[in-house]
Symmetry: C2
Amino acid sequence: MSIEPKRLVESVLRGDRLCLARLLTLIENEEEEGLQALQQLYPSSGKAHLIGITGAPGTGKSTLVNRLTEYLRNPTERHEDIDPAEADSVAIVAVDPSSPFSGGAILGDRIRMRDLSGDKGVFIRSMASRGAVGGLARATASVVEALDAAGYSKILIETVGAGQAEVEIAKTAQTTVVITAPGLGDEVQAIKAGILEIADILVVNKCDLPGADNTKRVLHSALTLGYPQHTTKEGNAQSVWVPPILSTIATTGEGIPELASALDEHREYLEVSNEGKRQAREQMRSRMDQLLRDHLIKEFTAQNPDGQYEELLEKVLARKLEPRQAVEILVRGNPE
Amino acid sequence: MSIEPKRLVESVLRGDRLCLARLLTLIENEEEEGLQALQQLYPSSGKAHLIGITGAPGTGKSTLVNRLTEYLRNPTERHEDIDPAEADSVAIVAVDPSSPFSGGAILGDRIRMRDLSGDKGVFIRSMASRGAVGGLARATASVVEALDAAGYSKILIETVGAGQAEVEIAKTAQTTVVITAPGLGDEVQAIKAGILEIADILVVNKCDLPGADNTKRVLHSALTLGYPQHTTKEGNAQSVWVPPILSTIATTGEGIPELASALDEHREYLEVSNEGKRQAREQMRSRMDQLLRDHLIKEFTAQNPDGQYEELLEKVLARKLEPRQAVEILVRGNPE
């Protein structure tokens, strides 16, 4: 069962899908072999366009991701003069921050498989929550890194829901697409959850349903609120990205070509402006901070006897010590 | 403007609402005076019933919280033989994990004030996000601690949304109420977001709307899935709490007395079974862990020159080092 990291890396770089799947599992489980392989793969990463796609359940997000994937894989439909061999290869990472309780990740994966199976240029990976959001976001970042190194040119990171988990996971993406749909109360929800701020592209899916115009209007007002500089100043339009509001019907494919174009435009904007570099630096800083935190707590736990912690916890529970005081004693009491 | 922690504590314990508000601001801003005052107040805490109330926007959560508060404040309606002076005093902590972008917290606060103003037995506090979820959850825990010490017997911690932020904040509560409503797609969302697992009491609000029966059915199936031991075994019913599914119409007050009773029953369950102690210990452990993490990173940052971190970050961005490798070098390079 075990495999040398070096051989694993070679197989992944050669395009072996089975080895890639195995590597992702090793990374998700934080196995030493997986982390070593990831270090060897890391120099090959950094080429893919990382696209986050999020929205509440019921917005038709999965159908839209499938349609977009089909479109990206079928370049003759996209530009008549593109060689089919030059089509984007697409990796889909479906992240479900809900617990195994719902079985959502597995179900989604099966539906996915039926639609896109047989295409060797598409790789699908589902990830379910394993407790803390932070852990999932970090695992997602590593999985995306491996897929990037494996040569997929577009990586679609799909997250369910509209909460803080999505905001955390969005930190991995270069371009974030937020999907809403009429009649779900999602326009309110999108605004409430602060998810609008992470959107580079807004999509109103199911735009043939009644209420679509209203949803677009609400999104437009919210955007005007969030980008006042755009509505008051002129002339610097090229230096500020104002999220476009696109309309799609994922079931028929309407609006998908426009979405693909908007993705390309946003990527170009990131490259031409300084924004891409700034974003990459900020994202990596946040990731290193998280890894550093993990490391420090692990080290501290290893160096300190459990007994003192438990003793202090009892005192806190007995209301003899305030939690912050207890932590100060714990840290000061460290013999090092 | 400044005030001694000792005087602040005395005023808060005497019931001075203005001083309490000031203390909460000091705590939220992590001012030294606030944290000192909190340490002095801590022995007086631990008496209140901490109740988390969460649900997606549009479920009528705020109206329900207001109604419940009115009901708790009006014991003659509740039990005819209760002395009005013995009524619960209620503190409402409305936590909005969305950013200041939406202005949700402030708006909600104003609507609140109009309904419940004039009642000295009610204290309302809104808290908006300040970046990380973790920070907000920690600030909420401290604010709740202060309100508990100040003598409020019921503390309602209301959170907007259905994401991980709510799950984090729910860790502060002893009893968690999850609110849904028909026709919002919320039954799906509640299940997807893993929020059902944190529910001690489920409320279908707006139960006069079409689709209410379906919402209840979906919740019931999900519960059956989550509590199989209850459906297969008999006789140990008193040792396992199975969340009741209640129906309410917050606008008319229907079902509110039943909700208040369910809250009391859950609290009694926590006290009679060992669950209350187990929960308190687990919650405090998680809180101390978070405080410890914060402390360790602060200490590390203070001891290490910024230069090395930035140098390593550049190497990671140039794909010369994998992020985990960089963090390992950073920690090993520590001269201590």
